[in-house]
């Protein structure tokens, strides 16, 4: 099960009478880093949950290449990597045990090697056998990023991936995202840290009150363009 594009067509989502997303449409291709920008409550996390197959849209369609989430079922989910607001880690387990559990759950080959590489990438080799509950926020974030990427997903969904990261770790994450892009992954990132994402973004969208629009090109930084368009 593989795909090289993600297409959303008129995706809407309501929670009771509240509209979270209204007819959102866009396409992302393999080898592209897409930024989803917007204020708190704009619908970014809802959109990521729908693309991650964890939430059904009220209407509209999401296609992964030629298939929908229902048609792709669990093999499709194996090609998606998601990092959420919450980090999807078990605090009682060690860094190594967390990664090993997910490596086994994804049925990965040579799981011990992959876990070792992920720990090295997160610069957590020396803390591999410490429980995650003893980690700082930044360390948890680095581990969570590696957990989301452990199975080399085609579609990478990152919700605020720069939270808690120091400069060095942020640069390391940017390098990781560039690597994913060069390997043909589709990367969708939501963030409020626009300076952190600006050097690597290919396309940016603004989500406002559930509606999506392309962030217009123009003078100034990504934050300047975002502010201009958000206030318009």
């Amino acid at each position: 099960m593989d795909f090289t594009s993600l297409t959303l067509t008129d995706v809407s989502r309501h929670f009771g009478r509240r509209r979270a997303l209204a007819q959102v449409s866009f396409t992302a291709e393999a080898g592209q880093i897409v930024a989803l920008l917007g204020a708190n409550g704009a619908g970014k996390s809802t959109l990521l949950s729908i693309v991650a197959t964890l939430l059904d849209p009220s209407s509209g369609e999401v296609r992964y290449g030629g298939v929908t989430a229902r048609e792709g079922s669990h093999p499709l989910r194996g090609r998606i990597g998601l990092l959420g607001h919450d980090l999807y880690l078990y605090p009682e387990l060690t860094a190594s045990e967390n990664l090993r559990f997910f490596a086994d759950l994804y049925g990965l080959d040579a799981p011990a090697d992959r876990v070792g590489r992920a720990l090295a990438s997160a610069a957590l080799e020396e803390r591999a056998n410490d429980p995650v509950s003893s980690f700082s926020r930044g360390m948890r974030q680095r581990l969570a990023v590696e957990r989301a990427l452990l199975h080399e997903p085609r579609l990478v969904l990152l919700d605020e991936p720069f939270t808690g990261l120091d400069d060095l770790s942020s640069e390391s994450l940017r390098a990781r995202l560039r690597g994913l892009r060069s390997r043909g992954a589709i990367v969708i990132v939501t963030t409020h840290e626009l300076e952190a994402i600006e050097p690597i973004v290919d396309t940016a969208y603004l989500l406002s009150r559930g509606r999506l629009e392309t962030l217009k090109a123009g003078a100034g930084s990504l934050r300047d363009r975002y502010r201009r368009q958000a206030q318009a």
Binding site: S49, R77, G78, F101
Partner: protein
């Protein structure tokens, strides 16, 4: 991609490992079960005499109460770091995640029963070991049915703000057949002349409940978890 059985086994192993580290659910459930039984013992044993069939009812009520406590806590853990979402995103049938959680809950109930049964036998002078295999069969069948429904509801309510109130409100009416079957089957074995045929009939009925509940839960888990 992971097979159904492998995914379920991994979830059970992970839950047991987490519980081995924290021992939170085991300790709270056992303490609650023992406290619950002591309260019943003070209320229902007078001058060394026990109200008829009380032992069977107390045994099953204690298991049900302790089970509700464990169910809530087990899913609270998955909610706190939203790890349930990571489980649901795995390339394994979502029903396998349900079976993994269900097996963990059932194992915990069996552990609670391992402590509660000897205590009930001792405190209420109940001959629970006279037909130990049949009693074990009733307890296991009842635990499976209770865990099947409980796991589904606890998973559904894990992200609800009023889950603490809603879980027992939904769970107890649905599991009444299991509790009645367990109480009547156990009571039949605790009479001076044990009614083995009656106990067997209740056991068969409990197994039928289990088959229905587990099948329904497997069928419903994916749609209710994909919000």
């Amino acid at each position: 991609m992971t097979s159904f059985i492998t995914a379920a086994a991994l979830v059970v192993r992970k839950d047991l490992l987490v519980e081995t580290r924290s021992r939170e659910v085991v300790y709270t459930s056992l303490l609650f079960a023992v406290s619950c039984m002591l309260v019943f013992a003070f209320g229902l044993v007078k001058e060394g005499r026990v109200v008829a069939d009380a032992a069977a009812a107390i045994l099953w009520i204690t298991i049900a109460f302790a089970g509700t406590l464990a169910l809530g806590r087990i899913f609270d853990r998955e909610r706190q770091n939203e790890t349930m979402r990571a489980l649901l995103l795995a390339p394994a049938p979502r029903a396998a995640i349900y079976i993994g959680k269900f097996a963990g809950v059932a194992l915990l109930l069996v552990l609670v029963e391992g402590v509660v049964v000897p205590l009930v036998a001792l405190m209420f002078d109940a001959p629970l070991f006279r037909h130990s295999l049949l009693v074990a069969g009733l307890l296991i069948a009842g635990s499976l049915g209770y865990a099947a429904v409980g796991t589904l509801f606890a998973a559904m309510l894990a992200r609800s703000r009023s889950r603490g109130t809603l879980l027992p409100v939904l769970l107890y009416p649905m599991t009444v057949p299991v509790i009645i079957g367990g109480v009547r089957g156990t009571a039949a074995l605790l009479q001076p002349e044990a009614d083995v045929a009656m106990a067997r009939a209740w056991l068969v009925l409990l197994l039928c409940f289990d088959a229905v509940f587990i099948t329904l839960a497997l069928w419903l888990f994916e749609p209710v978890m994909t919000e």
